[in-house]
Symmetry: C2
Subunit: 322 residues, 2 copies
């Protein structure tokens, strides 16, 4: 059994705990939280994150479920001093900086960290790179959704007069079909995705004014075609509690003049955090194996052979999966 | 530049030669054939395969484009005595035997072989394994087509009274949509694919008798719903000279009770041999790098980190592709 520590118990941490029930070789040693452990209801034992270092000999890999990029930039290096780690660090622009920090801490302490897994970054990073390695001449497109964007939902909830809200990112299927049919398109932000908002108003709030504020909000909505629906708190609770997501990576390559080769990868997820958690747990298996072989420092999803993620031996993989 | 030898010059060998024009770091040193080199028209220099050993210091990786599994079982070990190799060995049942043979020869001679790449086996093997590693609980389905099956086309051409023919394997889209919608199906061979035949008859041949012979042919057609069209030689030349193919790997996983996660990978290829060739050339880059690091013996697509297939440094990959 691979012994797992879960650091953080938001949606991702809960997803990791569930995933460890499905992965037969994973055992959750404990959940480590900054909150009061007594306030948390979980199947696994819950401890204060301050107690984590004392579990040094009892945990093989810590899965970092810190709620935000800010958390991880501090939490990652701190946990890595004593444990191997896997995280879903997703601030693309800061990946090199975060990697260098984790690589240094891992080398200094003889531990191993795999950063930025999940599905984007993670599986989508892999498919974008893989398709470009195979088809050097071509164009790659990524579409996200249909799915809930936490960042955009939060932006809606910060508007005065909004009681609650949820936002879905929706890919433009017409554009996707055109690309798959071989059209080469120069796409603006507005062409690729729509945004759909379900908003519960405070009593007396002005629908028209709030709609205007939403659709014109810079960075979040003004560059998109945005639809706003006003609904009741009851409807929001009944219809919009799931966290679906997904997306598509498409590369249209050309191997000789006019000879088109379409490479497409798609995810359609009932639960974004549960899927992200499952990817992270699979990579915990890989980190555990690479660490046992003597690897330390930091790595990414580009650095591990696929065989490291599997429970099967190399012989079994060749016999049953080639 | 990585110096490439192409062994065999059928459709795959031609595809490899073309691919090396698109991959900027690849240089074809020569094509090595069992035929009379003077009979072959190619952009690259053409030599008899008997001359290959004398190129030992001039070639980094030999790409084996032997026309059949029988060729490779002999050709692979023979070339590997002097060169690193990449091949598309596709007799799934004999992969372990072939691997063991190549691994032994490579270890004995200090060379490295990557076997069984392409898209199936190859990319599809990777996606089937990857999706199962991430979603241990679930079902995986593979569909092929729409595409030309050489084996089935050959079977048609062997029928008395058939002058020429081509066969397309067609996936059952209704079944694919049901699976993607979450239905768990027990599928027979007949449920998954259709077979469509375009046949040119010899003069005086009997359409009815030949149709009966086709649709009842064991192993090839009797387990499928098969359609037979009789066309002219001109129409066959005009409409059926491409070698399109493709397919889909789908895994429907469950991360908790009733929580479905759909993972889908699809290829739609204008040219099966050109795409297979491009995959093989990308893996030649990986073999070259692993060999320079001291690896010998045999490996598969499960054993190489993705970064090995890229021209970019690890720093560049982290900055631009995570």
């Amino acid at each position: 059994m691979i012994k797992i520590g879960i650091v953080g118990y938001g949606n991702l941490g809960k997803g990791i705990e569930r995933a460890c029930e499905v992965f037969e070789d994973m055992e959750v040693v404990g959940i480590f939280t900054r909150r009061n452990p007594e306030d948390i209801k979980a199947k696994s034992a819950v401890y204060s994150v301050d107690e984590l270092p004392s579990f040094k000999d009892q945990i093989d890999v810590c899965l970092l479920a810190g709620g935000s990029a800010t958390d991880l930039m501090e939490q990652g290096p701190s946990v890595l001093e004593n444990f191997n780690t896997v995280d879903c660090y997703d601030t693309h622009a800061k990946v090199p900086e975060y990697f260098d920090k984790m690589n240094r801490i891992g080398k200094e302490n003889g531990t191993l960290s795999l950063i930025s897994t999940g599905w984007d970054p993670g599986l989508f990073s892999i498919q974008r790179l893989f398709s470009e390695c195979i088809l050097p001449k071509g164009d790659t497109y990524t579409f996200w959704g249909k799915g809930v964007s936490q960042g955009h939902s939060d932006a809606l909830r910060r508007i005065e007069g909004v009681k609650n809200a949820i936002q879905y990112t929706i890919p433009n299927q017409d554009v996707i079909e055109k690309i798959k049919a071989g059209e080469r398109l120069e796409l603006s932000t507005r062409d690729k995705h729509f945004r759909e908002c379900f908003v519960v108003l405070e009593e007396g709030a002005d629908e028209k004014a709030i709609t205007d504020e939403i659709v014109n909000m810079p960075n979040y909505f003004s560059d998109y075609d945005t639809t706003v629906h006003f609904i009741s708190e009851e409807e929001l609770s009944a219809e919009h509690q799931g966290m679906p997501h997904g997306g598509t990576v498409i590369r249209i390559g050309e191997t000789s003049n006019g000879c088109k080769q379409n490479y497409e990868f798609s995810l359609s997820l009932d639960s974004n955090p549960e899927f992200t958690a499952s990817v992270a747990v699979a990579y915990a298996r890989g980190v555990h194996r690479a660490f046992k072989e003597g690897k330390t420092g930091a790595i990414t999803v580009f650095d591990l052979p696929l065989s490291y993620l599997s429970v099967y031996t190399d012989e079994e993989l060749r016999k049953n999966y080639i």
